[in-house]
Symmetry: C2
Subunit: 194 residues, 2 copies
């Protein structure tokens, strides 16, 4: 079984002591950041609905309402699902991390191992969702003359600014997950070198 | 400094002994698989060019040639760049892994640590590229009636089958990178529990 390494050594030098407590606190902080960014990203994406009236050609005075919603594209649906999973996961793993921090023994290697395994998986899911939403969003923003896909952001500005913000937040979620994995790997390899 | 754990113990039980040598060999195998899938994925995507003649309406006998190439979409350009980086990285890390395997001492924790750090980063890059290409490719395959983006795969079948194959191969590359990270984390945590 794993040995517990985060016991505070009164005789040790202050910088080392600080370093052995640090990763756990940073871990909880990063999980909170992941929760916040993923939650806001989902909310911003889900509330992006925009309705616009377009005049009907040849019929003066008549307009039709066209609605832009996130669920009109499978990429955005996947994005919302992936970020929701990340949000839920950050709550569960964050609470577990706090319990581990509050335990007198400190960090447990086994839990840390399971966290890295799931963090990496989720990192891939969120990165793929960000890529998919970013790829489709870019077409909406700039269009593609080769395939004659017209840009939609000139007509649906509010919708587009919503999803641009959402994608930016998902980028922060991805970076947070990357940092979480790096931190755990660093903590694991530090335990070996001790 | 790290201790070296892969020395063959003649007195040890066979399953444990096998386990201590296994990860290094699997690591090299996975890096070779990553190299093969990333390389083939890039080649298939780059060679996806398709030219098709379309008759000009109202002018009988006259046709115009329309070319479909991967570099007509920024998502596909990013995809090719990301998979090329993955391919190059797999060569460098694979060769280093083989050197480590051939060294009498076996696995080095420090190198393994650096490998995980880079593997995770690359996993995110490849997953995002797969997502972006998949998202745009899906529009090409099915179109989007809400934004009036017409599907192009009915006209450019060969181009589309090329990029479908390429995206599938990138999925295998992503899974390989995920397994590489999991393997390294498993090897690291196994060293702690010893």
């Amino acid at each position: 079984m794993s040995s517990i390494d985060t016991t505070v050594k009164p005789s040790g030098p202050p910088p080392e002591n600080k370093g052995s407590i640090g990763p756990g606190v940073i871990d909880v902080g990063l999980r909170f950041l992941l929760f916040a960014t993923a939650l806001v990203s989902v909310i911003v994406m889900v509330t992006s609905k925009q309705t616009k009236l377009f005049p009907v050609p040849m019929v003066p005075g008549l307009s039709i309402a066209i609605v832009a919603k996130f669920n009109q594209s499978p990429a955005f649906i996947y994005f919302v699902v992936a970020l929701s999973v990340a949000c839920l996961y950050s709550v569960i793993s964050g609470v577990l991390s706090i319990f581990v921090l509050m335990k007198p023994g400190g960090n447990s290697t086994k839990l840390q191992f399971h966290f890295v395994i799931l963090d990496v998986l989720l990192f891939g899911i969120v990165a793929a969702a960000m890529g998919a939403a970013g790829g489709v969003g870019y077409i909406g923003f700039r269009g593609n003359s080769h395939t004659q896909w017209k840009k939609v952001c000139n007509d649906f500005g509010s919708f587009c600014s919503h999803f641009a913000a959402s994608i930016f937040l998902s980028l922060i979620s991805s970076i947070t997950l990357l940092l979480l994995v790096w931190l755990s790997v660093y903590a694991l390899s530090k335990k070996i070198s001790k």
